[in-house]
């Protein structure tokens, strides 16, 4: 694999990001509690496929949740194309162009596959309550266009024959693909994938990696991906940041990270055996 020096504008700039759970706010700052993330820095350039790795409990998902504002930020800055994200509501962040998937799949379980994708297209529907109730010709046109876009996205993930199925009835791997299609429907510039390979077998992981490369090229996306299986990240990510206990312990390309002694100790195990999970 190749590593080119990062070029293009900065998409995501995170400075000294901290998250404390359960601490007491005092005049000296925050005392006690758990520092899930501490002084986390990250820069992602346009078009990059960046990886964020670390053992379970390292704080990776907490970083994602702070970027998408699903949890509040204790301190630090998050900027998306130079625009401050801290303090914005989650839906506004998505509408700015940050899409995401979840570690534990969070599709809308009782809705059809097509509806799942259509919901993410809602901010781009182009009509409001009045047009929806009146259902004139403008509504017909926009609604058909919306459905068509959703069907095209399902087609990319080979789900076009499943559009009328209830999402929770699909097998696990297909639910993950529905979630990816839905995340793309929100028209992100930056896509956050939270452990997309969780619970997949090696064959599924291989095809998943192909599909991530495909959407990366096809949609001109910048992707930030969380993973704790080293194999997945090493295969696809150009820039890798390694976290442990809420802090960055290494960054660089796959080879640099894999040979970093702190990473080997924290993550791969001291014996230097096969890459695996610490837990």
């Amino acid at each position: 694999m190749t590593t080119c020096p990062p070029t293009g504008p900065v998409v995501l700039q995170i400075n000294r990001l901290c998250k404390n759970f359960g601490g007491q706010v005092t005049s000296q700052g925050i005392e006690g509690g758990l520092w899930a993330v501490r002084d986390f820095d990250l820069t992602v350039h346009e078009g990059e496929l960046a990886g964020l790795i670390g053992p379970n409990g390292a704080g990776k998902t907490t970083v994602f949740n702070m970027i998408s504002a699903l949890i509040s930020t204790t301190s630090g800055q998050i900027a998306f194309y130079g625009k401050n994200l801290v303090g914005l509501p989650p839906h506004a962040i998505t509408q700015l162009g940050i899409g995401r998937t979840f570690q534990n799949i969070r599709i809308f379980p009782r809705l059809t596959v097509l509806d799942n994708v259509c919901i993410a297209l809602h901010p781009h529907a182009g009509y409001g309550v009045g047009a929806a109730v009146w259902q004139g010709s403008g509504f017909d046109r926009k609604e058909s266009a919306l459905i068509e876009t959703a069907q095209e996205l399902l087609g990319i993930f080979n789900l076009q024959d499943k559009q009328d199925e209830i999402a929770s009835n699909l097998p696990y791997g297909e639910q993950r693909r529905v979630e990816m299609a839905r995340a793309l429907a929100a028209r992100p510039k930056l896509l956050l994938l939270d452990e997309p390979a969780a619970g997949m077998n090696p064959a599924e992981v291989r095809t998943l990696m192909e599909s991530i490369h495909f959407i990366h090229d096809q949609f001109k996306l910048t992707i930030l991906l969380i993973e704790h299986q080293m194999r997945v990240v090493m295969g696809i990510c150009e820039q890798i940041t390694v976290m442990d206990f809420g802090q960055v312990i290494a960054r660089g390309n796959a080879d640099q990270v894999a040979s970093n002694p702190r990473v080997i100790e924290a993550y791969l195990g001291k014996q230097g055996g096969k890459p695996g999970r610490r837990d």
Binding site: H91, F108, V129, A132, N158, Q160, D161, E174, A186, S211
Partner: protein, 378 residues
């Protein structure tokens, strides 16, 4: 799904022709054969109640916000419109004298009347009722907007339910003491002298419009956004849905339907009592939408009629001296239904035009032709 030709509220002329036909059959063939009591209790009141329950189903069934406030907005709509028509009712009148037809003998077998009056009504009174009803609905909508925005911002579904129960109790207490400010409501004694303006025509129009508007809203992108809030708030936010906006929207639209329903109720019985708008009765709409199936419009309408007809009907059907047993049979029936059919009468099945529109599946060829490109399997 491009439809051509005449359309009103997204429905074809065939749909509206069927609606007119149903109205005519009900008005001239069925209703004349019923007693006044049954006309009111089995047809007109359930039409009003069904509209109100559709509103609650939007809030609880589709949007997932447990609410007992529907009854409070029902009361607000009822009293607002009643005060308006009470004050103006005797002054506004503009009768239109239409035509009266003698019915030929063979038609009298179907329509049990010797003559039928067409275009024979009071335009002034109709405008008054329409205005008062809209005023009731609008005030309910405004109050629900203020209440909803403040409360929904802070409270999740179950806590919201308790807050809305509080709202209904507050409204009832205000109505009990309302004669201090508005003497004609007569406070806890109940308001009398409201003109009896609600006819089958008005409740039928209300139910049809409430149903069509709900159907159009639910089967649109706005409806999908409303449902996504019920399914998973966090995922909805992450998909760019402004969760608070759609909670408030559902709450306001649902409460507006309650306000309109209240206005029609006030002019149906011509008597309003704060006791009727108490928190105990506020569970009736909730029971109905759960019976019909949460998030199911067909079920709500069917359940309302089943509920109203069977509850009142048991007074007649039960043997003499056993009428009080209906309040034993009714709860037992509820328990049994919840045990054996927790998803409600209809479950997920919608009938007729309430069904979700079907979108043709794209074939593989169509996908590659539109640039869908490579397919990925996992």
């Amino acid at each position: 799904m491009q439809k051509t030709g005449f359309r009103f509220l997204g429905q074809s002329w065939r749909f509206w022709a069927v609606v007119v036909l149903i109205f005519l059959v009900a008005q001239w063939v069925i209703m004349p054969r019923m007693t006044e009591f049954r006309k009111t209790a089995w047809v007109m009141f359930p039409c009003i109640m069904a509209g109100l329950c559709l509103g609650l189903n939007l809030i609880f069934g589709f949007n997932g916000q447990f609410s007992l406030g529907q009854w409070g907005f029902y009361a607000i709509g009822a009293y607002t419109s009643a005060v308006i028509t009470y004050r103006l009712g005797s002054r506004i009148s503009l009768p239109i004298h239409g035509m009266t037809f003698q019915l030929p003998g063979f038609l009298q077998a179907i329509i049990p009347m010797s003559e039928v009056s067409l275009f024979h009504f009071d335009l002034g009174k109709a405008a008054l009722l329409l205005g008062a009803t809209l005023a009731g609905g609008l005030l309910a909508a405004l109050i629900s907007y203020a209440f909803g925005y403040v409360v929904l911002l802070r409270l999740g579904s179950d806590y919201f339910g308790i807050a809305t129960l509080g709202f209904t109790i507050i409204v009832q207490n205000l109505l009990n003491n309302s004669d201090k400010v508005i003497p004609e409501t007569k406070g806890a004694r109940g308001m009398i002298g409201i003109p009896m303006l609600t006819s089958f025509f008005w409740v039928f129009i209300f139910l049809v419009f409430a149903t069509v508007v709900m159907r159009n809203l639910i089967h649109s992108s706005v409806g999908r956004a409303i449902v996504s809030v019920r399914e998973d708030e966090v995922a909805a936010q992450a998909m760019g849905i402004d969760v608070l906006k759609y909670k408030v929207l559902s709450f306001v639209l649902g409460s507006m339907l309650a306000g309109i329903a209240g206005a029609l109720y006030a002019h149906l019985y011509a008597f309003l009592s704060p006791a009727y708008f108490g928190s105990e009765k506020s569970f009736d709409p909730l029971i109905i939408i759960v019976l019909g199936g949460l998030g199911n419009m067909t079920g709500t309408i069917i359940a309302t009629f089943v509920w109203a007809v069977s509850l009142e009907g048991m007074r007649i059907w039960l043997p003499m001296g056993f009428e009080a047993w209906r309040l034993v049979i009714y709860p037992i029936a509820l328990v049994l239904l919840m045990l054996f059919r927790p998803q409600g009468i209809m479950g997920r099945v919608e009938l007729g035009f309430l069904k979700a529109p079907k979108w043709a599946r794209k074939t593989r060829d169509a996908v590659s032709a539109t640039g869908g490109g490579k397919e990925v399997t996992a």
